[in-house]
């Protein structure tokens, strides 16, 4: 018996200027539950203005290696278009994120959307793609008040940042910046 709730991929947007980035996944019964888990697991630190979640099962994913075998297009009605969000992995560099959101295309199928994305976003070359129907992505919302309630509490907790401690060293050249003399 499968007791596992569906897996959802989580995308976090750190600032208004940054793209949504895949940060990991959570198991959840529905989108609201997934968003709540995503917030608890991935936003214990500041730098978030919004979250997206999408069921892992609806993601059309292709690696560069797979695409060497081609990208067969299904025979579908070209007049029925829908919006797909495009995510790309462009580097093997060490990182805490996976795919970056780079834009959206209109297409009649995920494979068609991928074909359009390859033409539209050639640089840098992709190592892997994720194509997700826009209507399957659920956002924590653009609402300012909601965003503040979800993401602002972490902002004032500066003691969670290693930078709050400056350079901590026992060596003579190390200048200690310590606020606590009350112990």
């Amino acid at each position: 018996m499968d007791t596992q709730w569906p897996r959802w991929e989580v995308f976090k947007k750190d600032t208004a200027k940054k793209p949504y980035q895949a940060v990991g996944s959570v198991h959840a019964a529905d989108a609201d539950h997934a968003l709540l888990n995503a917030r608890n697991v991935f936003v214990r630190r500041p730098q978030a203005v919004s979250l997206w979640v999408a069921p892992a099962a609806v993601i059309f994913s292709r690696t560069a290696e797979q695409l060497e075998q081609g990208n067969p297009l299904p025979d579908v009605d070209q007049s029925v278009q829908q919006t797909y969000q495009i995510f790309r992995k462009a580097t093997h560099r060490r990182s805490m994120t996976f795919m970056d959101h780079i834009g959206q295309v209109e297409a009649p199928s995920p494979a068609h959307a991928l074909q359009a994305a390859i033409a539209q976003f050639p640089d840098p070359p992709a190592l892997a793609w994720w194509i997700i129907p826009a209507d399957q992505i659920i956002s924590s919302g653009e609402d300012r008040e909601m965003a503040a309630a979800w993401f602002d509490p972490a902002k004032t907790k500066t003691y969670k940042h290693q930078s709050a401690y400056g350079f901590v060293s026992a060596r003579p050249q190390g200048r200690r910046r310590s606020g606590a003399k009350d112990e």
Partner: protein, 317 residues
């Protein structure tokens, strides 16, 4: 016969391609082809790592009500909460390999799965909180920085995220220890006592000597580990020992010295009997820790029940 040969050939070819990918520095992602042994090793390592984060909340969590200032209390709450979060990142990473949360929890609660030996030592005084931050989180960062290079994408990314947070754990502990090392005689005595108890277990937690770690070469070849236990331990001592000494503390190893010729710190013999005793469940706090974890799991039953009720409704609509 032919079929088996073909399968083996195919397997060998795939393994060769897989190893070539790792050699090129590519990350292996969930769903990519991987040898069964690679998948199993990763599930074992990642879930043990997750259990360690969870158990790691206990020795320090005990001190939250007794923090000497509001600032220290907020820091400690945040740190313990981070450890729970690290457990979550890691369980999710293991789940991408096909392990289920139930299997992992079950192995943890029944004592089948291991977790880091270090958390089976008691936290006797408030100064232990500082020493754990400096030494235990410090040793963990050394290990985790290495694992952040690992070939499995989801594990590597979880490690990068965890290391960024661990640096806060490390610094707050070090800051506290240094403050006390330069503080009142009583404070100095407390941190020295904490160092006496935590130095050796911190060296042990980085694992057996290379000669006694038969799995290491395979793990290195597959890019799961990129350094051996002894290499990581050496890095840890080189980073920590000079600073502890500069703080006026005494490291409880009369043989510890810096060897100019090799540029290495030479330490006295590690008591591996003690290490294996702790790993096999006979450390000072094994029973207490696992008991507390089981109790917490039982106490959380109503939350799982409520969520299941919600899920049944959500999934049937």
């Amino acid at each position: 016969m032919t079929k088996i040969n073909e399968m083996t050939m195919n397997d060998e070819k795939q393994t060769a391609e897989f190893e070539a990918r790792i050699a090129r520095g590519e990350k292996i992602e969930a769903g990519d082809w991987m040898p069964e042994a690679y998948r199993k090793q990763l599930i074992r390592m990642i879930s043990q790592h997750a259990h360690s984060e969870y158990i790691g909340m206990l020795p320090e969590g005990k001190w939250i009500p007794h923090a000497p200032s509001l600032r220290r209390k907020m820091i400690l709450i945040a740190k313990v909460q981070d450890e729970a979060g690290h457990g979550q990142y890691l369980y999710h990473a293991a789940e991408t390999l096909g392990a289920t949360r139930e299997e992992m929890m079950d192995a943890f609660l029944t004592g089948k799965a291991k977790y880091s030996s270090i958390f089976n030592y008691p936290s006797d005084t408030w100064a232990d909180v500082g020493m754990i931050g400096w030494l235990v989180d410090g040793a963990a960062i050394r290990n985790q920085t290495m694992l952040a290079q690992c070939s499995y994408g989801p594990y590597s990314r979880a490690m990068v995220r965890i290391c960024a947070e661990e640096t806060f754990h490390h610094k707050q502990g070090k800051e506290m220890v240094l403050l006390y090392a330069h503080g009142t005689p009583k404070q100095r005595e407390m941190v020295q006592d904490a160092l006496n108890r935590y130095w050796w277990p911190s060296l042990m937690m980085l694992g057996p000597h290379d000669a006694d770690s038969p799995n290491t070469p395979q793990l290195v070849r597959w890019g799961i580990k990129t350094k051996t236990n002894d290499e990581v331990r050496q890095e840890f001592i080189a980073e920590t020992a000079p600073e502890l000494l500069a703080a006026g503390l005494t490291i409880p190893d009369p043989e510890l010295h810096f060897d100019e010729e090799s540029g290495q710190w030479i330490h006295g013999p590690i008591d591996w009997d003690e290490f294996w005793q702790v790993v096999r469940g006979n450390g000072p706090c094994n029973a207490e820790r696992l008991g507390a974890r089981r109790q917490a799991h039982e106490d959380g039953a109503w939350v799982r029940e409520a969520l299941n009720g919600y899920a049944q409704k959500a999934l049937s609509t």
